[in-house]
Symmetry: C2
Amino acid sequence: MSTAEETGDDTPWGEVTPEAARRLLVAAVEAFAERGYHATTTRDIAGRAGMSPAALYIHYKTKEELLHRISRIGHDRALALLEAEAGSDGSAAERLAGAVRSFVRWHAERHTTARVVQYELDALADEHRTEIIELRRQSDAVVRRIISEGVAAGEFDVPDVPGTTLAVLSLCIDVARWFNAQGSRTPDEVGALYADLVLRMVAAQK
Amino acid sequence: MSTAEETGDDTPWGEVTPEAARRLLVAAVEAFAERGYHATTTRDIAGRAGMSPAALYIHYKTKEELLHRISRIGHDRALALLEAEAGSDGSAAERLAGAVRSFVRWHAERHTTARVVQYELDALADEHRTEIIELRRQSDAVVRRIISEGVAAGEFDVPDVPGTTLAVLSLCIDVARWFNAQGSRTPDEVGALYADLVLRMVAAQK
């Protein structure tokens, strides 16, 4: 696993303190992405972070707690990005394009984290999965509201608002699956392409 | 893991013979989907199929051979569906809509298989991954050709044909991630919604 994700932020997982707890999260993301959650042990994660298993247990009681923290921080961040764009000034088209650009950029830059979060949802404990599903419902509601406002304002023509919302979010999330930091498109370029495609999906007035 | 996938075909993996080899593939898909490739042993797979590990080795020499067979059959089938629609009569819009409906239906009905195939690509041996990537390149070429033909015929307005092709395929593939057989939309309904959204993405003439 490369450090490609580290290009997206000055310090990945900078919100996690102390430093040892942050390093363990970074190591857990890499280990889960490479081998899958179930094939990874807390010993593997501690080893990647250059720590002993005992040092890991000071910060995280279980492997599931690591997955939950990764998933929670990732979803909180994605929701905050969408809410910032939804609450900005501008037409529905400008806000929808901004939300898509921002959401795509996050999934491109943090693609390893996003893959772990998406593909290992079933490995979360029931109460944690319920909490994450609620955050996803909120992200869906933010995008649905922008689209609904555009329809009400006569800016968009959308026969199926819930279905189109689902498709817009799915299109952006799947960037994490195929995005390659060594590929020909930068996160910003994919964001610009996708913003244009999404405005076409909602038949935005030019 | 439910048998929801079995609703998509009379006999899942019916192309695989003999029957013991077919049952082992079904068991491998379920095991990989639940626990991930690396956390699954050939003993787990044999046990799910009601066989001994020795009986498994008659049909598959390694766990990787099982993943390769699953991935190969899945990709062959998806490519064949796209080629059938691309080669049908009709305008570019009709063929593109048909390809999207067919590709979406496959990813919805066979969502467990599609997830394994997508998420475990890195677990394939190098020569097998190269082979699968070539099949994906061919699927991309089929869709790109329909879009290019539509542009040439003046039916579509697409500034970035490779980028739009990538987005169309990504949108359809991600159905496998979120599709829920107990959800409110059937595979055909998702296919119809997505065909409409994709025709909007290419600005098809009405």
